[in-house]
Symmetry: C2
Subunit: 401 residues, 2 copies
């Protein structure tokens, strides 16, 4: 197979875009060049020649102007419009935009199929860790039972610093915001939405199942306190924000929740901005991939690897997904294989007792009350968690134990 030259039209020149530019400039042997970069802000000073930039997206998207579009902007809706237009013009796309991918997966899949173009996105989950391509290519015939992992660098960075520096959530968050490890509005990260988008993508490539974001419950570390960290520490545990997608019988359970993990877990020592993914298969047993989950150069290098793959005409085969869909290339609606009605054991710290009434508590195993801190450890019907979904003010910290 001979590789071909690639001319790249790039959207976005933020953290990852600049990372890609650096990585591409230092890469040997890759026949790919960034020809044009579409950005929004005309007044920003940029470290490379002004001739690279355009403010008109049509200059890149007009039919046939570039072999490949690389989409690295923040806004998921604008990204979707760009990616759709590029693919409809017959151009393959590399993106790292997990929100855009998760929110529009069905349509994006259909556009790919219809136009016979590639849409690849290794940088969208696990930063530099090559997890999507491994699920797609290497574990294609394994009887996988579980994929789970630490997929959000911001959450992990905050949790690590709270523990290592004995600090409370707000202090670390403020610090993380000022040094670029958290957004000014951190909700998508800390409340588990970002982790969930990635869980959705891993579920597609691990099991061939396409969910909508709202099908997957998420809560995060938005209400974590130093007491929770201390609770974990005293028991030799650590709190890790996890995406979980696993098979139980012939059904799947997919969610993102904080978990206590013990010292013998590979995930225990994955700290700060590092990410990790554990893949369990019937025969390969447990495999763990660890690497930097975010950042300009790590994510840039994942994007570069995708670009390199396009020089060899790579595209995802979606072998597992194809087992479930008709030859028309339409992914059926619904989520028949997903299970919600099961008991999950949770540690729940609360401020107001009545907030627990939203949950269907099956049995309480422990209860602790003291001034300023109260928690229960209880078996809860998982589906009742949706009653508290995305409530910003409930002050519950929920952690799988």
């Amino acid at each position: 197979m001979e590789n071909k030259n690639i001319s790249i039209g790039l959207f976005g020149f933020g953290c990852v875009g600049q990372g890609l530019y650096d990585v591409l400039n230092h890469s040997q042997g890759l026949k790919a060049n960034i020809e044009k970069i579409c950005v929004k802000d005309k007044n920003k000073t940029r470290k490379i020649d002004a001739g690279f930039f355009t403010y008109d997206k049509e200059e890149i998207l007009k039919r046939g102007n570039h072999n490949v579009v690389v989409e690295l902007i923040d806004n998921a809706d604008e990204a979707f419009a760009i990616v759709k237009q590029a693919m409809n013009n017959g151009v393959s796309v590399v993106t790292a935009n997990k929100k855009m991918l998760a929110e529009n997966f069905r349509e994006l899949y259909e556009i790919q199929t219809r136009n016979k173009v590639a849409l690849i996105y290794e940088g969208s989950a696990g930063g530099s860790i090559p997890i999507i391509r491994n699920l797609e290519e290497y574990y294609d015939n394994e009887l996988l039972s579980s994929v789970k992992g630490i997929l959000n660098g911001t959450c992990n960075y905050i949790l690590t610093r709270m523990e290592f520096e004995n600090k409370d959530y707000q202090d670390v968050l403020k610090d993380a915001q000022s040094n670029g490890f958290a957004e000014s509005d951190p909700w998508l990260d800390v409340a588990g939405f970002d982790t969930k988008f990635k869980a959705l993508l891993l579920t597609v490539h691990a099991f061939g199942i396409v969910l909508n974001p709202e099908d997957i419950f998420n809560t995060g570390i938005q209400n974590v306190s130093y007491e929770d960290i201390l609770y974990a520490k005293q028991r030799g545990l650590r709190i890790k924000m996890l995406a979980v997608s696993h098979k139980v019988g012939d059904k799947f359970r997919v969610y993102t929740l904080p978990h206590f993990v013990s010292g013998d877990s590979e995930l225990y020592n994955v700290n700060y901005e590092y990410n990790a993914v554990e893949v369990e298969g019937a025969y390969s047993c447990k495999q763990t991939f660890v690497g930097k989950g975010a950042g300009s150069h790590p994510t840039g290098s994942a994007v570069l690897s995708d670009i390199s793959a396009l020089t060899y005409d790579y595209k995802y085969g979606y072998k597992k997904l194809k087992k479930f869909i008709s030859s028309s290339g339409i992914i059926p609606e619904g989520k028949p294989q997903i299970e919600y009605d099961f008991a999950i054991k949770l540690y729940i710290r609360y401020q107001e007792r009545e907030r627990l009434n939203d949950l269907e508590i099956i049995s309480v195993e422990e209860e602790y009350k003291a001034s300023g801190t109260n928690y229960i450890i209880a078996n809860v019907n998982f589906k009742s968690l949706f009653n508290i979904y995305n409530k910003r003010d409930n002050k519950l910290f929920i952690c799988v134990i």
Copy 2:
């Protein structure tokens, strides 16, 4: 790309062969069948139908009898003959035989190129960990600086049990032999030859450099004692047998030696038969892959993944290697990029002081003498290690510190 049906001619039905049989039987959607299995021993009772077996290798190798040959026998010389004949007949081969691959790499590469067939071997290094394919495909344009790892399950199993159970080497080795974790002649494993063969293969796929096995120094845990384990333990370290292949300036250093690793290393918690590989790149930073390094099913699943890749006509592109070789497909002899003349800091436990005279010691940093146990910590010229290469009786335990 449509996948094709594959008819497999299998050589060997030992641990990995039987593992492959199980994994293949439970795999969904893979269009591959084992048609014939060539074995040696006519008197062995086997768990599957006798009709599968043949004792005549020509029945599989005769031109055109099978699409794919899977070679999983012990004997490296016989394996080489089989693999060569298959490829010369235009048949692609999957193997997990690192000794055969390492000893004959140049010739095997040339036969592949000449016959335009695939020779793939994910199961040959890291058991179930997909390291070769990731080095080949995912890190193809990364500026890699280092690949190192725990690649021998037997060594790691012995070292782990010595530490966790406070036992001496001979006791654990005997136990490991009786429960199948070590061979009756363990020399290839414990003295680091097996690790070295794997280091050789990783060096090809990480850096495009082909070495001969004798170009790579190896010593292992054959002389480790409980005192060494204790020395490590008291300092919060663990001894791990590592393959190392890294770039220093524009030269490469490749060797396999025991190392002390500290608690903050990802390798510290990789215990028993688990393997791990750390890949460092200029932009992706450090990535770690952990998984079961040996065993019937984990290795069988790596072999299965290779077979599955062949249904899509996959072959290694050897992109990095091709930068160094002529269009004739001949790999040049010699090892100009490898560095031997450098200082390495070693812990060396000895019984007879004069054994150290074989080594070019640059400076001694510590020296400890007591009845029954003596060690030095010294900077040693690396190339002088070849003076003690493969000496079974020197009783030196050497560990990078």
